[in-house]
């Protein structure tokens, strides 16, 4: 099935099997490998992207369901060579070690801060329930999101 979507502002169109997952469209067909696959049961959140502005696990959707959608991935977060404040916060606060969960964490954190511009620690932890990290014990991820919240201009 012909499936088209805009990813990070660039149009992508491919003929796909109906069973193709959105994450595989992004990784294999669009060649954007920053979005990762860490599980097969939608627990780990490494594949989190933004679909029409909503954080979504791209392994839970078929590519054909995203036909016509506006997608943002980790590769689209930095603008004009400048890191997004959440990316910068993860770097500043050592919110990553192996880096595998990081793209999904950052995409989830972006949605989190839209919902709660000044989140409490509990809100951060609760909102990150859908993203697993095996390296950091979450301590510095929480710190990074707190730091990003301080740095990001209130909307």
């Amino acid at each position: 099935m012909k499936t088209s979507m805009t990813i990070n502002g660039v149009a992508h169109s491919h003929d796909v099997e109906p069973r193709l997952l959105l994450v595989h469209f992004i990784r294999e067909l669009a060649g954007l490998t920053g979005t990762h696959v860490g599980c097969d049961t939608s627990q780990c959140g490494a594949c989190t992207i933004h679909l029409n502005g909503q954080a979504v696990k791209s392994c839970t959707m078929l590519a054909v369901q995203a036909d016509g959608a506006q997608i943002a991935t980790i590769e689209g977060m930095a603008k004009d060579g400048k890191l997004h404040p959440i990316q910068d916060a993860f770097w500043e606060k050592h919110g990553l070690q192996c880096g595998f969960c990081t793209p999904g964490m950052i995409m989830s954190a972006a949605q989190l801060l839209q919902r709660y511009p000044k989140p409490t620690e509990d809100q951060i932890r609760h909102q990150l329930e859908g993203n697993l990290c095996r390296c950091t014990g979450y301590h510095n991820i929480v710190k990074a999101i707190q730091y990003a919240a301080e740095k990001m201009p209130a909307k």
Binding site: T41, Q97, G99, F100, T102, H126, L132, R134, G137
Partner: protein, 786 residues
């Protein structure tokens, strides 16, 4: 040019920009022209003979390139076991099983196709005629009479019996003891669950006869050596193994596995590159598991609370086959740590390693040391309870006093340096222990169950020297390599045989080299993970990279400096013996204005016009460092919990850690590793556990829906502190920081929960994880006893 001290600074990681922008290069990201995609046909049974495998339908499926079974892999040998204990039974472990499958997930065929989906579809069409047999998965039943035997070489399922310590002295200690306590301790099976699943891309190039294997490995040279020399019989020098960005290991990516071996063999058959990536179900079923001990432990105490003796009988589940380093984990990495941080009268430990129809068990973060620490810290608390003594007091009475070098334990090891009481005192201060006990009393009167648990642990890392570990059964050396290549412009590339998969070596090694050479760390590039460009190295596990890999780099830098002095002395018309290297400059001692910067010496080495006779051009050095001893980090952790009496739910109120890892290169990175380690150890105590169905041998906890990996809202912020006791073993004084958190935290949590329930008469809980159900049952049993 003077630079600020780089060692000891919390410098942001240079690897992060690529990871936070999605530009990392993990194995599954790789796409080569002509790529094919593989999937494995695996046993759905715990134990079944293979009568026949029919691949004909799969081969006809559109898009299928090839299907191979074990029978096709002629001339291929067993995956090797790299640690041979005396009388160890070593059964064959073929890359594709062809006689029988011995655990759920055992691979029996590979299907290779033009697309991943075609491979998956075709794998469904491979028909295996199974002869299903009764299986055994339980550790305590594997060696029982009548248990199904997995291997001809081990009819009783016993792989080895091993012991350490002094049985007679221990027996005498128990006879003289005022009191003794005996407990059964089950250290459950865990799954490492690195977030990146295992993967490989194998490419054979027909025109040159070269292979390249990209693989999720913690030690690419070890992978190459084992695969080429032991299994496939192909020339080592024609195979390049690259471990690119690797998304976590925790031990599970040390070992040579079936899948990369089969893909490396198969790429030559089809003359096209092959990519295989595990899905999470395969990770659960086939990544080596960790722990899985059943132990009876006894502690003998004097009435004053001195530890007189420790007796340990452990059955260790090795799984279905011997993984690469499996026999070392429950023996030399476990029994030798049973002295803990205490003066002990006598120790005796017996371990029986058994085969079961389960995933092979090998090193998982800590590997043997968490099992030892858990055992000691739990039985010490049980001993304190039996003596009605405060567990902090009992620990203080028994700590080995501060020493700077050489404490001989009762179980073969010689500790390097330690100050155990100081770490514990610091912890008690952070905790405000007295206040906690008073809060606890106050809580009890209102039905609130508060508890604190301690863990004063020791850890052994940078396992060495090679000749000693060789005498104990290791089939490998345990040194590390480090090359320092100074370029003509004075910029430096270093090549380390260790491997980073989250540890931040690209940053810490650049700090180390920049600091030692007195040059900006931005002038230092760190290269690792590629057998094509890095000298043979042993890789990263056992918290060895800084202490062993870092020291190899220091040795190479020393050689660079010595050669630089010859060149500088010649340029300055001075005597090389009068030269010293200070802050990035070669200086004539006593004449601070007579000096030459590092960069000029580098250029001279490559443009040797004005050059000392007899000195080779170029400025590069390689060193191989084989440590004289292990390093022994230590520390003290405390966990404060509240247990809900009605539901059994455990809530962590505080988690405190004081770790002593020797000198620290980058405190931010060390703290990060401690955090992550704590999370994994806490998770063992409270949530994680691999469970097999006893009847069917199925792995019940085979997905992230069933195996409780901790989430952000299950864990607290950690309060960390540090003492620094440098090791005399290496010139950096660093000990190792990758595993302390995991080793320390599990007993701290368990002891906290037992402490919370102590008012109900609970002095021990046999098994983990401490799910609400298990804790609730413990509470009910204690109440019904009262």
């Amino acid at each position: 040019m003077a630079t600020a001290r780089l060692l000891g600074a919390s410098i942001k990681r240079r690897e992060d920009p690529r990871f936070i922008t999605g530009k990392g290069h993990y194995t599954d990201d790789l796409k080569l022209s002509g790529m094919t995609y593989a999937t494995f046909v695996r046993s759905p049974h715990a134990f079944a003979g293979i009568k026949k495998i029919d691949t004909s339908k799969a081969l006809k499926h559109p898009g299928v390139v090839a299907v191979f079974t074990g029978k096709d892999m002629t001339g291929v040998n067993s995956l090797p076991c790299g640690w041979l204990l005396p009388d160890l039974k070593v059964p064959p472990h073929m890359p594709l099983a062809s006689d029988a499958a011995r655990y759920v997930g055992d691979p029996v065929a590979i299907v290779i196709a033009e697309t991943q989906t075609a491979a998956l579809d075709a794998a469904e069409l491979v028909a295996v005629d199974w002869d299903v047999k009764p299986s055994v998965t339980r550790t305590d039943k594997a060696a029982a009479k009548g248990a199904p035997a997995l291997h001809e070489v081990a009819p009783d399922n016993v792989a080895f019996r091993w012991q350490i310590g002094d049985a007679a002295a221990t027996e005498a200690a128990f006879k003289s003891a005022a009191i003794s306590v005996k407990k059964r301790i089950v250290n459950q099976r865990l799954v490492a669950n690195a977030l990146e699943p295992r993967a490989c891309v194998a490419r054979y190039e027909d025109a040159t006869g070269d292979w390249t294997l990209w693989v999720t490995s913690q030690n690419p040279h070890v992978h190459r050596l084992l695969m080429t020399a032991f299994v496939l019989g192909i020339p080592e020098h024609k195979v390049r193994v690259i471990a690119p960005d690797v998304g976590g290991g925790f031990g599970s990516k040390i070992f040579l596995y079936n899948e990369e071996t089969v893909c490396t063999w198969a790429t030559k058959q089809i003359k096209r590159p092959i990519r295989w990536t595990a899905n999470r179900r395969e990770s659960f079923q086939t990544d080596c598991h960790g722990r899985d001990h059943v132990t009876d432990v006894e502690l003998a105490l004097s009435k004053e609370g001195k530890i007189l003796g420790l007796r340990v009988k452990t059955t260790a589940n090795l799984g279905s086959y011997l993984s690469t380093f499996a026999p070392a984990v429950p023996t030399y990495l476990y029994g030798t740590l049973l002295n803990g941080v205490y003066e002990m009268g006598a120790i005796h430990c017996e371990v029986t390693g058994v085969f079961t129809n389960t995933t092979p068990v090998d090193a998982y973060r800590g590997a043997g040391r968490p099992e030892a620490a858990y055992l000691i810290e739990r039985i010490v608390d049980a001993g304190a309870a039996a003596l009605k003594m405060d567990p902090a007091e009992l620990r203080k009475k028994n700590f080995i006093p501060k020493f700077d070098s050489g404490y001989q334990t009762k179980v073969a090891l010689t500790y390097d340096s330690g100050n155990y009481g100081a770490a514990f005192d610091k912890l008690l201060g952070m905790l405000d222990y007295k206040k906690f006990r008073s809060d606890q009393q106050g809580g009890r009167s209102s039905g609130k169950l508060l508890g604190v648990g301690f863990s004063t642990y020791i850890e052994a890392c940078s396992i060495a020297p090679s000749k000693v570990v060789g005498s104990l059964g290791a089939q490998a050396g345990l040194w590390e390599s480090g090359t320092v290549r100074v370029h003509p412009t004075g910029k430096v590339t270093v090549f380390t045989g260790s491997h980073s998969h989250g540890q931040g070596h690209e940053t810490t090694f650049a700090q180390l080299v920049g600091d030692h050479l007195g040059i900006p760390m931005d002038d230092v590039e760190v290269v690792h993970g590629d057998t094509g460009i890095v000298p043979f190295g042993m890789g990263t596990y056992g918290s060895r990279s800084a202490s062993v890999g870092g020291t190899a780099l220091v040795m190479s830098m020393d050689k660079i400096k010595e050669k630089g002095k010859l060149i500088a002395a010649h340029l300055l018309e001075a005597n090389a013996k009068d030269m010293e290297y200070v802050g990035g400059e070669f200086v004539v001692k006593g004449s601070p204005d007579k000096k030459i910067p590092f960069g000029q010496v580098a250029l001279t080495a490559y443009v040797p016009h004005k050059y000392p006779d007899g000195v080779e051009p170029g400025l590069e050095a390689t060193s191989f460092y084989d440590p004289s001893n292990f390093c022994f980090p230590f520390g003290a952790h405390a966990c404060v919990v509240e247990v809900d009496q009605d539901t059994g739910h455990v809530k962590i109120l505080r988690y405190l850690a004081v770790d002593d890892v020797g000198n620290v290169i980058n405190p931010m990175i060390v703290d990060g590793m401690v955090h992550g380690g704590i999370a994994q150890g806490v998770a063992q105590a409270l949530w994680e556990g691999a469970v097999y169905d006893e009847e069917s041998g199925q792995l019940v906890t085979g997905s992230l829906m069933d195996y409780a990996l901790p989430k952000a809202d299950m864990l607290p912020m950690y309060e960390t502190g540090r003492t620094e006791t440098p090791t005399p073993v290496n010139p950096l004084g660093v000990k190792g920081a990758g595993e302390t958190g995991t080793i320390a935290s599990t007993p701290a949590v368990m002891n906290a929960v037992v402490d919370a329930l102590s008012g109900l008469g609970v002095d021990h809980i046999e098994a983990m994880p401490l799910t609400a159900e298990r804790v609730w049952k413990t509470i009910q049993a204690a109440k019904s006893k009262k």
